[in-house]
């Protein structure tokens, strides 16, 4: 593995020997060591099945939902081992956005944004809730489009709007990290451009980890890039440098379209 010129001080996330296995034998990701820089976008790319989503889902311990999955090694969030935190605590600090937009179909737009608070049984004054909803929707540039239909079901929105709603839902807790798992793979180019623009804005306040199988997207939006292949982190470096001058042969082959 090659890590070049990444002197990351005070990383938001540090991964130490992180491995995940779906069956207890074969490793889906193998001893990943990496640090994630604050207020930047880190892209994880690689061909299908290389373990990029598996790596992402290890960061907020989504794998805990499935008892057969074995995770070893550790993830530190601002210096604290995530296994020492409760899942509720961890997931409030590390938000997640999925491949397909998945707003809760039975909830209104308003309730979708505030869903994290509701699900955890946290009660606030209505004015506080209104504020959180408006701020989160403004953060994803959806406020002007939906402010008059907050009580309508989220599923009436277009795909791109739904995905931005899901990002707003993740932002409502003011997390320190947002994990996005191929968030634009189900969107058209215009909606994709909107989400990408949004991510560039959001990195001022949040640390973003973005899984993508779209190299061009990684090149457009990310500051750092990881290239994964067969469960291993092959190369990790500044995006610009990696795309112009990859050190590993596999990375070069992937970036030049020889496979993937």
């Amino acid at each position: 593995m090659s890590i070049i010129n990444l002197n990351i001080k005070n990383p938001v996330l540090s991964l130490k020997d992180l491995s995940v296995s779906y069956d207890g034998e074969k490793l889906a990701i193998k001893k990943i060591n990496a640090e994630i820089k604050k207020n930047s976008i880190t892209a994880i790319m690689g061909p299908s099945g290389c373990g990029k989503s598996t790596l992402l889902r290890a960061l907020n311990r989504m794998h805990d939902l499935y008892p057969d999955i074995v995770t070893t090694g550790s993830v530190f969030l601002n210096g604290i081992d995530v296994v020492e935190m409760s899942n509720i605590d961890l997931r409030r600090k590390v938000g997640m956005v999925f491949q397909r937009p998945n707003p809760f179909p039975t909830m209104s737009i308003y309730d979708n944004v505030i869903a994290g608070y509701k699900l955890n049984g946290m009660k606030q004054k209505k004015s506080e809730r209104d504020e959180i909803v408006e701020k989160s929707l403004r953060d994803v540039t959806l406020w002007n489009e939906v402010k008059d239909s907050l009580q309508k079901k989220g599923t009436f929105l277009s795909g791109g709007q739904q995905q931005r709603l899901c990002i707003a839902r993740a932002l409502a807790f003011q997390p320190s990290v947002i994990l996005l798992d191929e968030p634009t793979s189900a969107l058209d180019p215009i909606a994709t451009a909107k989400v990408e623009e949004l991510l560039l804005n959001l990195k001022k306040k949040y640390t973003i980890v973005l899984v993508t199988h779209n190299m061009a997207q990684a090149a457009r939006v990310s500051n750092q890039s990881m290239f994964m292949y067969l469960g291993e982190l092959v190369e990790y470096g500044k995006t610009k440098e990696m795309f112009t001058n990859p050190t590993d042969k596999k990375t070069e082959e992937y970036l030049t379209g020889k496979f993937g």
Binding site: N60, M62, L65, N87, I88, D89, L90, R91, R92, G95, M96, F98, Q99, R100, N102, F104, P105, T106, M107, A115, G116, K118, L119, N120, G121, C166, R169, A170, F173
Partner: protein
């Protein structure tokens, strides 16, 4: 010359046509058979609780049986709801894909296939004496015993459909909730139940429809008295049980009254089943 494809098509069409004729035939004979009693008593046949087969003073009303049917079925539904719902959460969510859920799921399906007469026999020789031992009623026959056996009969039915619908909740919705820090219980409460709601309602409607028409076990346990029951432990009759009990010795106006009750039952269960299936159909779109 007819191609083999055309012949097959026509054969299949003819076979399906038989179903249509049979249904039409049943409705036709039920309506035809019910005409005498309706022309004698009019619509008040449905709302009258008189039942007097003595010649010359004949009076027939369906109300006691409609009441018996509805009371026993509602009672069964009330008993069935919490049990079926928790079992289906167990099978469909908490232990979904686990061995124990598969075993219980198989048992549930097995119970759903037990013939009515077997439930009736068990109810008569085990459940009824138990009710007597508890001191709830002197002979153990009646509405409560019938409702209980009906509940046992519809629980597997409601459980199996509800479990399937619960298991259908999209995984990405559940994961979305987990990613917001929700616990399992909160996911059930705020994600699974709301998104499965109409399906769950439909499965209980279908179970209720089953209870309405259930005959054999009820006939053996309800006590067969032609009056509106006075309470949970009183005896009574349902629409199905009065027909099963009396059709052998009925003729003339009485036979027509029984057929009319059959027609009413047919219409009611038809509406209930139709409503349930409509909701499920809408859901699966």
């Amino acid at each position: 010359m007819m191609t083999s494809e055309k012949i097959t098509k026509r054969l299949l069409f003819a076979a399906s046509l038989i179903i249509v004729f049979v249904t039409a035939g049943i409705i036709f004979s039920l309506v035809g058979g019910a005409i005498p009693v309706f022309s004698e008593f009019g619509i008040s046949f449905i709302f009258s609780s008189d039942w007097n087969p003595s010649e010359g003073k004949e009076e027939y009303g369906a109300l006691p049986f409609i009441a018996g049917t509805i009371i026993t079925s509602v009672l069964a539904l009330v008993i069935c709801l919490p049990l079926a719902f928790s079992t289906s959460l167990f099978i469909g969510e908490y232990f979904h894909d686990k061995k124990v859920a598969k075993i219980i799921g198989t048992l549930v399906d097995l119970l759903a296939g037990v013939p009515s007469i077997v439930y009736g026999l068990w109810g008569f020789y085990v459940l009824r004496p138990f009710i007597v031992d508890l001191g709830l009623s002197s002979q153990g026959f009646g509405i409560f015993t019938s409702g209980l056996i009906l509940a046992i009969m519809i629980i597997p039915y409601a459980t199996s459909i509800t479990a399937e619908i619960i298991a259908l909740t999209p995984n990405d919705l559940k994961e979305a909730a987990y990613s917001l820090g929700a616990t399992r219980f909160e996911v059930v409460l705020y994600v699974i139940i709301p998104s499965a709601r109409s399906g769950i309602v439909a499965s209980f409607i279908l179970a209720f429809g089953r209870a309405l028409g259930e005959t054999m076990a009820i006939t053996m346990l309800i006590g067969n008295t032609n009056k509106i029951p006075n309470g949970l432990f009183d005896t009574g009759n349902t629409m199905a049980s009065v027909i099963a009990n009396q059709f052998g010795e009925a003729d003339g106006l009485k036979l027509s009254a029984l057929i009319a009750i059959g027609l009413l039952l047919f219409v009611i269960t038809g509406i209930i089943n139709g409503a349930g299936k409509l909701i499920i159909k809408k859901l699966s779109k």
